[in-house]
């Protein structure tokens, strides 16, 4: 059947057709939909794990139990799960195991643009890289075969444009292989030095075999065209090359970026006059070409920064720009903002008002760094707020503890904030940690997590009691605040900052976009009372603007959270009927 699918749905379809029985993942743009699409199926186990390391190890366990399994994550998630990844390369697998990783060139929704291909090289694992949805389906399916034939986990590298572009795929029937019987095999699976030493040579031999396979496999192919120009390319860049040149140049399309096919590359290079390597991010293929003694034109023309397009490539080849018009007046930027009624806003307002140093984390609340709230001092990676504040407060001058907080969401706290909190309690720093508990994983589009009480299917599940968890760690001061109540937030914040011991403030209110959240009627401004002091504007609420010299509330956006009303010194903001 022919269907339009985003790359991530096609990966899910490929894994499904390939007989997957188990997937465990942590959400992360642009990888999230792989797991969400598989969760719609009832003939396999799907789950959100607390983090990518847990997910990968769970998938490894499922493989050991004899079931084809997978995990999916964004590029930075692979950092979190790098530990099992490197040693799984030594143990190998039982049933096929596919690790899907989605890079984000141009950082549409990420904090860096690292290139996951380095992990394949470093961990000595085969990696496949599709360039559209049809390949995403085929490669995902083939990855299981490859995994079992070569006794290795297989990395499937996606990128934002392949993950989130729809193209036509041809689907087929699901075939589930027979479950493999679990057989105890300590030399294979117990990686203590004696056994691991025997495994390393096998890993090297496997890489050599895979390199042979790469020379003659359907993932890598030459499309001969004109011989003046030869382009080695992969992934989404292949599509841009074809868009610009059609069949007028020769192309070596790499679908297996590790290990690379040395003989095929040399053969291709020998036939073309000028050799180019066009790859997004780092010069991985280019460096390999140089090792082979070739001198391709690569990163000097095609930047390691950001993503490509047909325009990038046409420009690099000196092709004329397409005629276009543009408006003279520059359009003001439209950055993403915290939604109207977002429960994070109230807490950020209180932090900004009190000029608190805020060590931030990864989630919607990273948006608290923007004007006018402007109240996040750093954002590094998942969990770094809680771990970082301990070092910051411990190493700072004495009064820092009274002016500094870590701020982290419920899902991110489960991911890797809790270990930082253990460190705070264990090593005794006077840190104040605010958990923004909005009862969902927000930024990635509303996924359940261990604090929500529901699993990936929306069925009731185990629920972490955050207060009890923090107390059991050894935090004696655990407070709960309602971020719609500014006075309460400020009082609690001041008390906990003044306390001479670590504390946790749970700022609790569900994400306003959750379907079960009942919003209230929009508020209105009494223009007679409004004196244009602009206090309400300090919230950075998209519903509030200045119109004709007075504050104005957009009734199509306002959800009646009433936080702005608490700021108005002239009681000019209220419900419609009272005005």
């Amino acid at each position: 059947m022919k269907k339009l699918m985003i790359g991530n749905e096609a990966v899910a379809e490929g894994l499904y057709e390939g007989g997957i029985g188990f997937i465990s993942s942590y959400p992360g743009t642009p990888s999230t939909e792989i797991t969400e699409f598989l969760a719609k199926r009832d003939d396999l186990h799907s789950e959100w794990a607390p983090n990518e390391k847990v997910a990968m190890e769970a998938a490894f366990g499922a493989s050991l139990a004899g079931v084809r399994s997978a995990c999916a994550m964004k590029h930075v998630g692979l950092n979190v799960s790098a530990d099992p990844l490197f040693t799984m390369s030594y143990t190998g697998i039982s049933a096929g195991l596919v690790v899907c990783v989605a890079d984000d060139p141009a950082m549409h929704s990420s904090q860096n643009e690292q290139d996951s291909r380095h992990y394949a090289i470093a961990a000595k694992l085969p990696m496949l890289e599709p360039s559209d949805s049809q390949e995403a389906l085929e490669f995902s399916k083939a990855a299981f075969e490859l995994s079992e034939k070569y006794d290795t986990p297989v990395l499937l590298r996606m990128c934002t444009r392949v993950s989130h572009s729809q193209s036509i795929v041809e689907t087929s029937e699901r075939v589930v292989p027979e479950r493999k019987t679990y057989v105890k095999n300590s030399p294979k699976y117990v990686m203590m030095p004696g056994y691991a030493k025997k495994k390393h040579p096998l890993v090297e031999a496997r890489t050599a075999k895979l390199a042979e396979l790469a020379e003659d496999c359907p993932f890598n192919r030459i499309e001969w065209g004109g011989l003046e120009t030869g382009i080695i390319t992969s992934g989404t860049s292949y599509q841009y090359v074809k868009e610009v040149f059609g069949d007028s140049v020769s192309v070596l399309k790499i679908g297996m970026p590790n290990p690379l096919p040395s003989r095929l590359i040399k053969e291709f290079a020998a036939h073309v006059k000028t050799l180019y390597v066009i790859e997004e991010l780092d010069p991985v293929i280019e460096d390999h070409c140089r090792k082979l003694g070739l001198s391709p034109i690569g990163k000097e023309k095609f930047s390691p920064i950001g993503e490509f397009s047909q325009k990038t490539i046409a420009q690099a080849f000196g092709l004329p720009a397409k005629p276009s018009v543009s408006a003279d007046s520059a359009a003001p930027a439209r950055p993403p903002v915290m939604c109207s009624g977002c429960p994070h806003r109230g807490m950020f307002y209180v932090l900004a008002k009190n000029k608190i140093t805020v060590l931030g984390d990864i989630g919607c609340y990273t948006l608290g760094a923007q004007a006018p709230l402007d109240s996040v001092d750093y954002t590094l990676c998942m969990g770094a707020s809680v771990s970082g504040i301990h070092g910051f407060v411990t190493a700072s001058e004495k009064d820092a503890a009274g002016k500094t907080v870590a701020i982290i969401g419920d899902s991110t706290f489960m991911h890797s904030g809790v270990t930082g909190l253990i460190n705070i309690a264990y090593n005794g720093s006077n840190s104040t940690v605010i958990i923004l508990d909005n009862s969902i994983t927000g930024m990635t589009g509303h996924q359940q997590n261990p604090t929500t009480g529901y699993n990936i299917k929306g069925d009731p599940a185990g629920k972490v009691d955050l207060e009890a968890l923090c107390r059991s760690i050894g935090i004696r001061r655990v407070r709960v605040a309602d971020p719609y109540d500014l006075k309460q937030c400020e009082d609690i914040l001041k008390e906990e900052l003044a306390a001479e011991e670590p504390s946790v403030i749970i700022s609790r209110r569900p994400c306003v976009l959750l379907k079960y959240v009942k919003t209230r009627p929009p508020l209105v401004v009494d223009t007679d009372k409004c004196r244009a002091c602009k206090k309400c504007m300090k919230l950075g609420c998209p519903s509030i603007s200045m119109k004709d010299g007075k504050a104005h509330i957009d009734k199509t956006l306002c959800v009646g959270c009433e936080v702005c009303g608490q700021l108005c010194p002239f009681e000019a903001i209220g419900k419609e009927e009272t005005k």
Binding site: Y240, A327, A331, P335
Partner: protein, 190 residues
């Protein structure tokens, strides 16, 4: 046939993803090769959103760059200006005249530009300006802005109205089919 490129631009939350879903499915049914590209994640939080739809005999790149779009469907006026440079010479912008202030305008750091559409018209851009919000409200829901804009596009294209109606029925929730069909009809005839 050569590739036709359509950009759907707007503000996060306005329903442009549904428009691209509907259009993509329709074009596949009509037998074209189709690619649709969008970016999820942070752009959904009230930011500027853009979706690319390309179709023809064989489509390679999922992206649309400067001077390449045959049509821009803009859900908001300022967004039409932001993306106008992607329009091909002789291309058409179908624009909802609604204005939504971005944060820099709200905070007073920037002004919402005036005379956007006149300026583009003076530069030879075909502009189809329509108050899609009012039409959608007339049909029964402000959320049908996407269907109104698609109807304006449908007028300029050869796919029969019945195929559009089928695509609407296949894309939107059953209880909203009638309302969306009405929005399509009102938009088409506006």
């Amino acid at each position: 046939m050569n590739t036709t490129s359509i950009m759907i631009v707007g503000v996060g939350g306005q329903g442009s993803l549904l428009a691209s879903k509907l259009l993509g499915a329709l074009l596949v049914d009509e037998g074209y090769d189709v690619k649709v590209s969008e970016v999820h994640g942070m752009s959904q939080r009230g930011g500027s959103v853009v979706t690319y739809v390309r179709f023809g005999d064989k489509v390679c790149s999922p992206l649309i760059e400067e001077g390449e779009a045959d049509f821009i469907l803009s859900f908001e006026k300022l967004e039409a200006a932001r993306w106008a440079s992607c329009l091909k010479k002789g291309g058409t912008i179908i624009v909802n005249t609604q204005e939504i202030d971005p944060m820099p305008v709200i905070t007073g750091a920037a002004e919402y530009p005036s005379g956007i559409l006149e300026e583009l018209k003076n530069k030879g851009v075909n502009i189809d300006a329509v108050d899609a919000l009012s039409i959608a409200e007339q049909a029964g829901s402000a959320k049908a802005v996407n269907i109104v804009l698609l109807a304006r596009f449908a007028k300029r294209f050869t796919i029969p109205v019945e195929s559009w109606e089928t695509a609407i029925a296949n894309t939107v929730a059953p209880k909203f089919i009638d309302m969306n069909r009405k929005a399509f009809e009102l938009g088409y005839n506006a």
